[in-house]
Amino acid sequence: MNISFNPWVWVAAFLTLSMMSFLYKDNIFYKIGEHIYVGSSAAFMLIYLWYFDVKPKLVDGFMYNTGINKWILIIPALLSLFMLMRFIRPVAWISRWAIAFTVGMGSGLGITGLLQGFLVPQIKATFLPLYVHGSNTLMSIYLSLNNILMVIGTLSAIVYFYFSKEHTGPVKKISQVGITFIMVAFGASFGYTVMARISLLIGRVYFLLHNWLGLV
């Protein structure tokens, strides 16, 4: 046993064990750890936003840009100020201007981003040949079957989420195929998520046994 004498390792071990204590039951150590996490995360986020977003884009922009590139920054500065007007009740309505800008941005980017990033590429990727000529017959069957499954799975999953028509008759049959694919997808995603969480858990247990207690 080669226990660590680094006080920071002890702090990390205490916080790790505090969080893990929730597995026994909700207790004061977990609550303290949880609140420290919320408080420090909020401050961390604020520092991050300042150093990576607001300072380089607004403050440095004002200091180092010239001409129109400098003065145009008055608009986001004003919008930011308007956002903070929510604290002053008589003029709180001005904050709607900043909210309107962010909502407009979200909507504009929603259309362009979803079109370019999701809709068109996904549709394009689904236009697959239903027969693929492979190196041998077995390969041809395998590759063709994959493409057929991909097309059927995509279309039936879309039909499953199509609620403008009642799911009866052929629509019901197709949506039942869709739910089969969706179940496999959810199962696979679940398995993937569990693996990610388990690897985090292994990381924390390894920290306790190796970095803190020096047992392994």
């Binding site: 969080m19 956002m83 800008f101 407009g104 980017l109 499954l149 799975g153 999953a157 388990i198 858990l201």
Partner: protein, 261 residues
């Protein structure tokens, strides 16, 4: 005016971004990047609104000595310690707290932030396991599919899983055969024959399933992720995109105004 100006701002911002997609030349070409920068700046200030709410709520708890006020005190203390440490490092040492040599990154991030975050998320492994117990019982065809896909992906992604998976599935098939045999012995006629056929098929499947999983489990897990999983996700993504575009159009055209309330 209090409603019209925001609606106009939303309309102009949204329409300009859509125009920028189709006209990638000056002055529209750079508009998307410029607006994006502005959004990041405004978004940064929005954080202050959230912080105000968080801190005031916890301060009230401390002031009134409500239940859990000690935790709230820890929250406020950790907030200000982190804040002063981060900004202090920038002001005193004249370097970014995210610099690899910064004490903020070396001590706070490594020994406070990472343990808390990683442990918090790793706890989800236990809650997911308990949720899985409820959701994954093979009650019908769909939940059996869910269970099989999850098990194959989980076992197929780790070396140890690849070693034990053939034995697990062989054992499950053996149990299935036992179940069919037991149920078959309680019935008579055609039903009994069907149960016995089920038991026989389960026993006959043990060897091929064992062999396939022993040699091709990794490939099966990859195939599940790349074909059926991808197909269903693609359908979901297309649906989300269509819904998102329709909602964005409603907002830009002023049909959807709930964000102004």
């Amino acid at each position: 005016m209090k409603r019209e100006i925001p609606l106009f701002i939303t309309f102009i911002t949204g329409v300009l971004l859509v125009i920028a997609l189709f006209v990638p030349h000056k002055p529209f070409g750079q508009l998307q990047q410029t607006f994006n920068d502005w959004l990041i700046i405004v978004g940064g200030f929005t954080m202050i609104l959230g912080l105000d709410s968080l801190l005031l709520h916890n301060w009230e708890k401390i002031k009134r000595k409500k239940e859990g006020w000690i935790s709230s005190a820890f929250l406020i203390a950790s907030f200000f310690i982190t804040l002063f440490w981060g900004f202090g490092e920038g002001a005193i040492a004249h370097r970014s707290p995210f610099d690899p040599s910064a004490t903020f990154l070396r001590y706070f991030y490594t020994y406070v932030f990472v343990p808390l975050q990683a442990t918090m998320f790793s706890l989800l492994a236990f809650f997911i396991a308990s949720a899985a117990y409820r959701a994954f019982r093979a009650k019908d065809g769909n939940s059996t599919l869910l269970l099989s896909a999850a098990a194959l992906v989980m076992l197929g992604r780790v070396p140890a899983g690849q070693e034990v998976a053939p034995w697990i599935f062989a054992f499950v098939l053996l149990l299935l055969a036992y179940y069919f045999f037991k149920e078959g012995s309680k019935t008579t006629g055609t039903q009994k024959t069907l149960y016995l056929i089920g038991a026989l098929v389960s026993i006959l499947l043990i060897y091929p399933v064992f062999y396939i999983l022993l040699h091709y489990l990794n490939g099966i897990a990859d195939w599940i992720m790349n074909i059926p999983q991808m197909a269903a996700k693609r359908g979901i993504w297309i649906g989300i995109s269509l819904g998102g575009i329709a909602m964005s159009l409603r907002i830009i055209l002023g049909v959807e105004k709930t964000y102004l309330q």
